[in-house]
Point group: C2
Chain length 160, copies 2
């Protein structure tokens, strides 16, 4: 039976961005990893806080989840991302053997904000790389767009 | 003037894989980041040691370099990779604003060993993503291929 994405997990990803003063820690992006109906990790982008260009929300969520499970193999997991994972994060999700990506806004929505995106969609990465990942787009997109708008209105925001 | 890759930096990347018992720590891949003729970081793949699917050599080298420089922006740097960076690492290199990638063996050489590669070349990533990165391929390829052969002959090797 096809996996049915659930709002509560995207809400957890959104909340993680809005708390922890994370609007100063990096871009307005959150992620949540779920296995068998249980949240394994929730994380946000910390590129600026950590002085580390790799610390996107999805990478942070994968690191937390693999530490939690003490395994680099996250087979059976689903990742929720507030925005379509960038090619770095898509590939990290592939390497982690995660089964399914669920996301809200698109890379192109974020590129408009001024981030220096490699504008390659997850569908293109999947097709070119012959990945077996399942992708669900536009999930809770309005709530994810609101998160981007919230960041746009935030006075301390910083592009990178 | 176009940057001329130098053997000593690729040698440093290869050496880092062969020491630190790193053949048990992850795949047989090394990376070295150089700025203004000075090595900023050298690293190898530690996916197995760290239980972390994101800990490829290039990611480890970027993290070390950004910590060293206390900046997520590695503009002006060159990265040497023993094997063509996978799409995760290519994208991380892009996000880090590194100027130039120099690599030895190809993703396709490594796919033959059995790694679950997303088979998308750096040139394809660059073209699709409209990245300004410069790429030098086949540099010290024979030495890099020897490193792969060394790993193949190693009794404790582990695919992931």
């Amino acid at each position: 039976m096809r996996y049915q994405p659930q709002k509560q997990y995207m809400d957890a990803a959104i909340e993680d961005v809005k708390t922890h003063t994370s609007l100063n820690e990096g871009g307005p992006f959150g992620a949540c990893i779920v296995k068998d109906g249980e949240i394994i990790s929730v994380a946000h982008n910390t590129v600026l806080r950590d002085h580390d260009p790799t610390k996107h929300a999805e990478i942070n969520a994968i690191i937390k989840a693999s530490q939690e499970l003490k395994n680099h193999d996250l087979s059976g997991c689903v990742i929720y991302s507030t925005t379509e994972p960038c090619p770095m994060c898509f590939s990290a999700i592939h390497w982690a053997n995660i089964d399914h990506i669920v996301y809200g806004t698109d890379i192109s929505d974020v590129k408009k904000l001024g981030f220096n995106e490699l504008d390659i969609s997850n569908e293109t990465m999947k097709d070119l790389g012959k990945s077996s990942l399942t992708i669900s787009r536009d999930f809770e997109k309005e709530a994810c767009q609101k998160l981007l708008n919230y960041w746009v209105s935030h006075s301390n925001k910083q592009l990178y």
